[in-house]
Symmetry: C2
Subunit: 405 residues, 2 copies
């Protein structure tokens, strides 16, 4: 099987023209926008050109299927982007899958199919397309979700029109391998060329509300205040020390959203809502972190006379990657860049999270320069992209073994 790295890079650069924006290699290609649908049309043409059968399900997940009905290995990721995204992100995995399928078609095998999932970046949720395909979410639930402009998914996906051919049966695939940029700094900082993902970390996310006493910022003495923001500040400042005995260097936690009410300079905030999110590869550690978070909040709010309530806790459990797929990627990495790759967890969610409910799934990371992601400035050195492609192609061959046609 003869992969062509020039063709692969050329396709990546062509794809980034759909929605090219901002600075450098920036792209704006949100799910279901004109640019996204045009990119899917172009991808469909490339798939057809190499003899794959193009199908699209109701969500807009685009498949290029190996033309016979025997089991094939599914390669891909997603081609939609964040509102301000880079040229690689998921597009890398889609184009890598396309190049390997093309090389396999030229040689008559192994059987490889390609997918570009829809709305991985969450215009309407999180990994929406693969979540519906894997049954985490029903189509009718998803259809009710609105984007930040109030458009429902049902309305947005109507733009797919006659492209939709119907459901694609997951049982036709033997497994799924997703190549993706790391989106973090580990490989870039160590100078390594690739990461084989051991597990996708689990996420817990909840909205916390503190209630206190809204009052005049001039006439209310400090010792009589029940200031909800001061409660949050103490919590956020003390949390690292409280979590220290439990966490590993790969554990993360984030307060990314804060809303004070009434939010005026001269009024003590009587209510404070904030997002509390934490991620870890161990389901037990996620639970220990939750206990620590809740205990610290209880202690601080009791001391300060504040009310404390929690919104629903959302979460996805950690997902281990399939051992045989992971082993093939590791063996291939060892041949392509010996001593310059690592096994690592994925701190971000990916389509592989949902797909792993349907079939064995694995992931391969390439380095992200500066760890930058979801930004026009996202990038990876082209030699590293080529190394990733070669590892993936080698792993595909190893998995096919003697079964390859």
């Amino acid at each position: 099987m003869q992969i062509n790295t020039q063709r692969f890079l050329s396709d990546l650069h062509t794809l980034r023209q759909f929605g090219a924006a901002g600075s450098g290699k920036g792209v704006q290609r949100r799910a279901y926008t004109e640019a996204d649908i045009a990119a899917r049309d172009w991808l469909s043409d490339q798939m057809r050109a190499i003899g794959l059968r193009v199908e699209m399900d109701a969500m807009g997940n685009l498949f290029g299927l190996w033309p016979d009905d025997a089991l094939s290995l599914l390669l891909g990721s997603h081609s939609d982007t964040q509102p301000e995204g880079g040229w690689l992100d998921g597009a890398l995995g889609v184009i890598a899958g396309l190049e390997i399928a093309r090389a396999a078609r030229e040689r008559g095998g192994p059987r490889v199919s390609v997918v570009s999932f829809q709305d991985e970046e969450g215009r309407f949720g999180v990994t929406t397309g693969s979540a519906v395909w894997s049954g985490t979410l029903t189509q009718s639930q998803a259809d009710l979700v609105t984007d930040s402009d109030g458009t429902t998914l049902a309305t947005a996906r109507a733009a797919l029109g006659a492209r939709v051919t119907g459901p694609v049966d997951p049982s036709r695939f033997s497994g799924y391998i997703e190549m993706h940029i790391e989106q973090g700094p580990w490989l870039d900082q160590s100078g390594e060329k690739a990461g084989v993902v051991s597990a996708i970390v689990g996420i817990r996310d909840m909205v916390v509300t503190l209630t206190g006493a809204q009052n005049h910022a001039g006439t209310t003495p400090m010792h009589l205040r029940r200031d909800t923001f001061q409660g949050l500040a103490e919590f956020a400042a003390r949390l690292p020390e409280a979590l220290a005995p439990i966490v590993t260097p790969a554990s993360v936690w984030t307060i990314g959203h804060v809303a004070l009410h009434p939010g005026a300079h001269s009024v003590i905030p009587g209510e404070c809502r904030f997002s509390m999110q934490w991620r870890d590869g161990s389901i037990e550690r996620l639970a220990e972190m939750e206990s620590t978070i809740r205990n610290l909040l209880s202690e601080i709010t009791a001391k300060r006379g504040l009310g404390l309530s929690y919104g629903p806790k959302l979460g996805l459990d950690p997902v281990d990657m399939a051992p045989h797929l992971r082993a093939a990627l590791e063996a291939a990495a060892d041949e392509e860049c010996p001593g310059a790759w690592r096994t690592m967890p994925s701190g971000a969610l990916h389509d592989a999270t949902g797909v792993s409910r349907l079939m064995p799934a694995a992931m391969l990371f390439t380095p992200s320069i500066g760890g930058i992601s979801h930004d026009f400035a996202e990038d990876t050195a082209e030699p590293d992209l080529e190394t990733g492609l070669r590892i993936l192609a080698k792993a595909v061959l190893k998995l096919a073994g003697n079964d390859a046609p």
Copy 2:
């Protein structure tokens, strides 16, 4: 001079019918609304009925002038309310002035004039009517200001129509005394009946912006984050200790507004803007507090690799109350409620802030039940209102001394 507490309370209850709303004794009487103008018409009638000469300036500040042109003492406050206000707030001082002027008219002196300033509650700014009268703000500057619905002050004040008689010369007054509810908890908690204001505290207010690195909340390890909210949390949590050596129990500071960018659960906030406001009666202490705030922010942002910038610093300097007016109030309080009054700063702004630029000014506080203000639930026990009225009347007599007609 024979004040009549029944007449005084009855007038207060009549005035609260203009814009009566919400629960209890709640009032909605924003500046220039129908209810506000109707209340001013009713006040004008009461002034005329006791032989005061009614004048209104272009802002809508309503004066009831002692009919001869000799110097008179100006009593009053404002009769507009917050969007959701109580029945007392500034109305208390206006009606107290009216009752004392009435008693003085019945006796032929001392010379007392009455004022209800316009828009103290800041539909178009802060203490707008008295600020224009005292020259802090020009009428043409003020006219351009819009309320939260986009209406300009110029448009709003056109509703005053033929009521406007022209400018009122401040030099006709010997001084200004404003009675007002405390709007804080000190008198209510101590069980004291009155507060003689030593100074209206000064305010400093600025918007602080921290800049860091916006990044993925899953893939960015804790030790590599430049999380602006974590910087703010550390600052807010450490500020009380940093300020402790400088401040008094009357010093206050507030972070009332916080905006994180982009403000998403899964994104490390790369920018954080927050309001930092502090108040104190001493201009030196205000400056020391500012140094402490800036030093702590510099230390924390340097340590965390964050950018730090400041918006314009807004501020009003503290205003000392006129010693001879304050002495008269203290002597009167000592007679009316010996051992049950105190000297205290005002943590809130009042019309006296601006008026003190024109003439000697002083203030008298009555207790606020539960310290509640700017709320339908604001209230003061009627016996405490009567005590306040008696103190004010006695102070007026003491000031008149042998000059009283």
